[in-house]
Assembly symmetry: C2
Amino acid sequence: MSRLDQQMAFLTEADRLKTVLRATTLCDGSRLENSAEHSWHIALYALVLAEHSDEQLDTGKIVKMLLLHDIVEIDAGDAPVFGDHDAEALAIREKAAADRLFGLLPDNQAQEFRAVWEEFEANATPEAQFAKSLDRMQPPMQNLASGGGSWIDYDVTYDRFAAQIGPKINHGAPKIWAWLQPKVAAFFAAKD
Amino acid sequence: MSRLDQQMAFLTEADRLKTVLRATTLCDGSRLENSAEHSWHIALYALVLAEHSDEQLDTGKIVKMLLLHDIVEIDAGDAPVFGDHDAEALAIREKAAADRLFGLLPDNQAQEFRAVWEEFEANATPEAQFAKSLDRMQPPMQNLASGGGSWIDYDVTYDRFAAQIGPKINHGAPKIWAWLQPKVAAFFAAKD
Ligand SMILES: [Ca+2]
């Protein structure tokens, strides 16, 4: 197989991410969001919001991470953040998925993409931390727009949201969390 | 409104791109593709295929173009490439859409994004030409995978495809066209 044969096989397989459904709906509540359109949306978040980081970030790296971050879900599935799942079993499934999916690419590109995905997962660099924060803050944005979304479906309280999700958004994007937190608090206060 | 207020309003409005349906199906033929997931897919094409350009391209710029290129469809709709449409009326609708949608952003960012979109539309820089070629070659890839897709729906012949689409792919990505052309030719030859 030529490099192009391998690359096109990867790009065609990647199409399946459009069929992986998430727990979050579109902003209009009309249907569940899939992981491909979610990936586009948070890459757009990165282009728009990178200026609100405290550090000088490599926006291109963040966008690349976000375009690649969910591809493992083609084999491993999406694990809803408020659902129950075995984190260890999921990590094993995702590593196997990364082996298979990135392994469709020519070796040097497989290694490059794998490294970007692992940097995102490790959450240790400023770029990964900002990217992870965007990935955590887009679902509450969708829920605010749709009138509750996955918060209703999973019977989530403000306290649970603030304890489980808040620190993860705040970690990489404190200015964005400071903007979002009062809006989420007001939503839950009005609901109760 | 603060910058973040404006930026979040734009990002929430951008969500509507997930409801704009294209003429192309997913690779499995199960449903029509929407313009948000299409935008993710071709940004991924750019990451994977940029090495096949003859010029030293700014891949980050190409990815940015592809993430933004269809946002005007939220107001202007998608114009299927094999369908009939009034190009002049469409261009007017798209300019109005760009005014409204990018205009949701803070001024400096509205101008920046608008300039990126106009660079794509003008198709004059190497980055725009490569990006346009990817945008033209992803639908035939989907059609080859699904067994015909929009070629069947729009009753397209190989000659029409080669005359109407081939030069547009070849213009910015001749190596990719050289790879794709025999595959499309073989598909139509087997079909007739
Ligand atoms: Ca995600």
